[in-house]
Subunit: 466 residues, 2 copies
Amino acid sequence: MPITLKKIDQYYQENYETIIEQFSKFLSFKSVSTDTAFEEELLSCANWLMQFIKERLNFNVELIPTVTGKPLILAKNHCGEDKKTLLYYGHYDVQPADPYDKWLSDPFVAEIRDGRIFARGAQDNKGQTFFVLKALEFLVQQNSLNCNIILLIEGEEECGSVGIEKALPELKTTLEAADLLLVCDTGTLSPLQGAITMGLRGICGLTVSLGGLRCDLHSGVHGGVAPNPAIELVRLLASLYDTNLRVKVPGFYDDIIAPTEEELAEAKKAPITDELYKQIAGAPPMGGEKGKDFHLRRSFLPTLEINGLSSGYQGPGMKTIIPQEAFAKLSCRTAFGQSSKKIIERLESTIKEMAPDYLELKITDVEAGGDGVRARLDSPHVQKAKQLLKQVYNGADPILIWEGASIPVVSNLCKTADTEPLMVGFGLEEDNIHAPNESFSLEQFRRGLIFTAKFVEDFASEQDNS
Amino acid sequence: MPITLKKIDQYYQENYETIIEQFSKFLSFKSVSTDTAFEEELLSCANWLMQFIKERLNFNVELIPTVTGKPLILAKNHCGEDKKTLLYYGHYDVQPADPYDKWLSDPFVAEIRDGRIFARGAQDNKGQTFFVLKALEFLVQQNSLNCNIILLIEGEEECGSVGIEKALPELKTTLEAADLLLVCDTGTLSPLQGAITMGLRGICGLTVSLGGLRCDLHSGVHGGVAPNPAIELVRLLASLYDTNLRVKVPGFYDDIIAPTEEELAEAKKAPITDELYKQIAGAPPMGGEKGKDFHLRRSFLPTLEINGLSSGYQGPGMKTIIPQEAFAKLSCRTAFGQSSKKIIERLESTIKEMAPDYLELKITDVEAGGDGVRARLDSPHVQKAKQLLKQVYNGADPILIWEGASIPVVSNLCKTADTEPLMVGFGLEEDNIHAPNESFSLEQFRRGLIFTAKFVEDFASEQDNS
């Protein structure tokens, strides 16, 4: 007899204290991946997680070493060759907790206030990974885990996913067994309505600098004569856009697989107005190419953003210099269909062409971090998830989201495993991920647990449509 | 019988030790004007200098309070109503000595090495003011000071000269007596050849920022939708120049009094090639408006430079944000004939016009620091200085320099005193003014002393040509 949502909920309620205790332990590790000062904590966290999976789920667990030294956890059960296989991707590393003084409680000592659990990683992605683990544990306890599960939990999503990317080719044989990739590293728009993320953009970036002056020069002695790296850089950067803010890098809009009319119609259901956007962002949605639809710009078109600028004097008052150097940090979100590698190469060569030959051009930090992904509207997994989310959210239809953001490794995971993605997350804007006082609503955690347990059970019993 | 150069030299040689001792005392005061931490040292320095002038020159000395609290020294002798009057302008404040660890000896303990005296202010402007004082002392001792002298020595040239500028109207009656303004705050191109600075540009500047976002935004979630302050700022800044780097601010080239053919021909005598320039600056002289002559760009045309840029992330690697804000520091050198105040107003209104209305524009630190000045080629004082410099430099003809730089208060001093300027300095590029290990060649100091003593003696005996 199939498990009811009520039964899973009952499990959550009865085991609440144990869940919180285990979850708090998971959150106590300072598994900050970007800072090597936390290297040992990262390893301790991985070890604890492996132990947890081994003991509670009785999975076979391996620590896959990576080139970056940040280990990847691979865990599997043995259900049967003839059973379906679900690949779950998550990460146990977190963003730095700085600035510490803005936290109301210790970021690595979980605290529950107003129905939310506060800690770094509470949502992103320890929280969302933990409800998945608890959902699987529930199924194991019930003897209801009737499919093969591959857990791939990395320790460096917050700092580039280089290790997992490099490890993927060796994992290909293992991953190819998967019939579906489940990712719970996304969110929904409101606590009243679930969401399925139907697309992600890819990402790439670089740092460009212009220099060559011997030092900062006196702007009176040299002004009008010495080439000014700051002036030349702003001219170079401005020349990357036309007057409508359309990116002028040749080929920048090639290979885009545009959304179908149906997809665009679904995206437009997002309950967001210019006024609401201004409340969220502080400014009206006037970025991106003029005249293009809000949803196209937000989810389906590539971007070229300046993420940082630096040159010369930045203190109070005036300092009359011609700065020795000027640099900018640029990054692109690439559209589904595009190659992030190709886009960054095109940007790099355009910059090289446009830079003045009398200054020194340096291009560094060139990174192509993954391509865009898109789920099919007619996927049976999406259909199933929609039905289930409706039940979990008391009858409210879920929304479909095409995210402008990226989870770099997802596209490569889909390619390596030759499978489709299903991205269902329970995060909310108010969770403050990456910011001080990150938290996760325990109600959303509960929904995540119920959704995952039921989805996996149903997945196991479905006919293979692949 | 007129004093010979030899006799002044003899005085220098015989009093060398006393001169160095007094000069070293003057250099020991940490009279850093920009940092209030040094306020007491600045006052001690002013007091010592007043005492020195009183005791050694027997001048009447007053401390003129200023709105900035950085006192201005006014000193005068009483030679006679019918005598000519020379106004000397200098400053006793210095730049900060940072970075201290780059100094080979304590910046506030004078040390002589290889014929140079090392200390902060050794040249700029304690050194050049001190040879003037010693020259006057010599004339007083010889009973040969036959003109009225007005010394105006400020304590804030290195941080904006606001106090002296505001004090000028009240000093007008005193200053109007002057027949000539002597300034020794400039340099020459080589130790083999003297120089007269025939012109200075004016100066003005501002800080512009674009912001309005609630915080740094996620470049995936908001990219393509949120307006990017860094992109908008580089577009705004780039739009201030045409493709030839001619400044597009309306009226930016109005009111310029171009150099005469003779002046330009003199300016072109400066022994500087593109190759030499590249050695000095690190890059070839490709700044300023394309197609315009090097010397015009260097000395006679206004500039609009970006002195600083800042926005978003400036650390290593990539941070995928849309920065909350972006700002730039801009300054102009204005041409002779132009009003710095008018130019900065035009720049400000152009920026206001061009800024996008969906971001918050802030313009701060608006400063108009003085207009350009130019000395007349046919001035008898210039002619006299030329002859004298030739003698001081063993027969080498002096060069005439139209500086691209500014000494902000000079134009206003000329206007207030209704007099012409004579700018003769003995500084050299290797003095490292404003930098660590500032020094002044004692040979240049000696020449400065000889030149000043003889020039003042001759000035006193000339017929009034004004």
